[in-house]
């Protein structure tokens, strides 16, 4: 029995196919982040958003309530790889794509080759630290 697994046989693959082929250079980061968000961070209502101005797809979903008692909120995650170059225009584009009802923050998921993913909150404007 074949125990070979590859990206195509991964349960997440069908959903991601379109964007993995549209934006091949961010395919790895998107795949890694999508799985982390869906299975490890347990976000719900997860869907993909096309962000051509960022040359990648973003991941939108409902973030579960955090330990600080924050209510679940709709957030967008921008995946990127540790090795690549991004720019602040990506952040602007992500905020713009969310339209008028955009939350004040988006998340940047930075993926490393060993599959570590770190998340940073990017707030638009001067947002005071949340301690």
């Amino acid at each position: 029995m074949s125990t070979v697994t590859n990206m195509q046989t991964h349960p997440s693959y069908p959903e991601l196919t379109r964007y993995l082929s549209k934006y091949p250079s961010s395919a790895g980061a998107l795949f890694q982040t999508f799985n982390d968000i869906t299975f490890a961070q347990k976000w719900t209502n997860v869907e993909l958003v096309d962000l051509p101005n960022c040359q990648r797809a973003g991941i939108k979903g409902l973030r579960p309530s955090s330990d600080d008692g924050e209510l679940p909120s709709t957030c967008i995650v921008l995946p990127c790889s540790l090795a690549e170059s991004i720019s602040t225009s990506y952040f602007s584009a992500a905020f713009t794509s969310l339209g008028e009802s955009a939350p004040k923050q988006i998340y940047l998921a930075i993926c490393a080759e060993d599959s570590s993913t770190v998340y940073y909150k990017i707030g638009k404007g001067i947002v005071k630290p949340s301690i």
């Binding site: 961070q41 170059s85 602040t88 940047l108 930075i110 770190v118 940073y120 990017i122 638009k124 947002v127």
Partner: protein, 322 residues
């Protein structure tokens, strides 16, 4: 209260403020703090309040001049040659000041002698005994106590307040005293601001625009896109009422305070991003974000868009998950 622009004295392309009143005005009226740098070379500590001159960041000077709040003075050339008569006048007042100090010191000495002449007999006896003992001790060659320089019969008390000046009084044979000022000390006052000098002419060496200062060769900031971006970001944040300080201690360009730095801690460290397309490495986000979390500050990326002269700020914080 029609006052002119505050003079920023430019030396070697840096803007200095030497007048204390101007330092106060810049801080209280315009939210420009600068950095006091006046100290002795071997005492340059950061946690001591230093004196004038106040050194401004180039962005601070640009901000002030563009708003018409300050002008740039070509400090070197504003110092004209005093000429013989002015020099003589200056020297004269210097010597007068010395004479006054010496006269005052003499008066004080006489007053003290008078005071002691009204002491009780017993007190006088005790005093003379003390003097004799000290003179005896001082008669040994390698004794360097200050009483060795006391002239015989001096009934002045040797309390600690007088020690310093008494040391020089009736100076010993070290031969350092000048004729006419034998053994007395006086203070030489060197005023900090040159504006008090007769031959300092700032009006003919002031520039109210950056362009004219640039033409005169005394100022050239900003001259690169990065420098222009810094000026734009500074202008934007100061315009919003934030006070800005140098951010090197926290890995950024500026420390951003909600009010006067003497009263508040900064909540933000800001980095200037020269354009929306300037390459940014994700590792920088990690570094800025983590440093912020550790120092209870957020990191700000302030992007300048040259096309529409808009500054957009993004704050970076660790997401606390993942």
């Amino acid at each position: 209260m029609a006052e002119g622009p505050i003079p920023l004295r430019v030396s070697n392309k840096k803007a200095y403020v030497w007048d204390v009143d101007d330092v106060a005005k810049l801080r209280s009226r315009h939210g420009i703090c600068g950095m006091l740098t006046g100290t002795l070379p071997h005492l340059s500590q950061q946690n001591v309040f230093l004196g004038v001159p106040l050194l401004l960041m180039p962005e601070e000077a640009v901000f002030l001049v563009e708003k018409g709040l300050a002008c740039l003075v070509d400090d070197k050339n504003a110092h004209h040659d005093p000429g013989l008569s002015r020099l003589a006048k200056w020297d004269n007042s210097r010597l007068k000041a010395i004479e006054r100090q010496l006269a005052l010191a003499e008066e004080e000495q006489e007053a003290k002698e008078h005071q002691y002449s009204t002491m009780t007999e017993q007190a006088i006896r005790k005093r003379n005994e003390r003097e004799r003992k000290k003179a005896f001790v001082a008669s040994f060659p390698n004794d360097s106590s200050s009483s060795s320089t006391e002239p015989a019969g001096n009934v002045l008390a040797h309390d600690s307040d007088n020690t310093a000046s008494d040391t020089r009084r009736g100076q010993d044979s070290s031969g350092t005293s000048k004729a006419g000022t034998a053994g007395a000390t006086f203070t030489v006052h060197v005023g900090a601001p040159s504006s008090q000098l007769d031959w300092y002419q700032q009006s003919s060496h002031s520039f109210t625009t950056l362009a004219s200062a640039r033409e005169a060769g005394i100022w050239d900031y900003p001259s690169t896109p990065e420098e222009r971006a810094r000026c734009a970001v500074f202008r934007e944040l100061r315009g919003k009422g934030y006070y800005l300080g140098i951010g090197t201690k926290f890995g950024g360009d500026y420390l951003v305070y909600p009010g006067d730095p003497l009263r508040y801690h900064s909540h933000f460290v800001a980095s200037v991003i020269a354009s929306p397309r300037t390459p940014l490495r994700p590792m920088e986000i990690v570094a800025h974000g983590r440093l912020g979390t550790g120092t209870k500050k957020s990191h700000l990326l302030c992007e300048w868009n040259e096309d529409n002269d808009v500054v957009t700020s993004f704050s970076i914080e660790w997401a606390r998950f993942g």
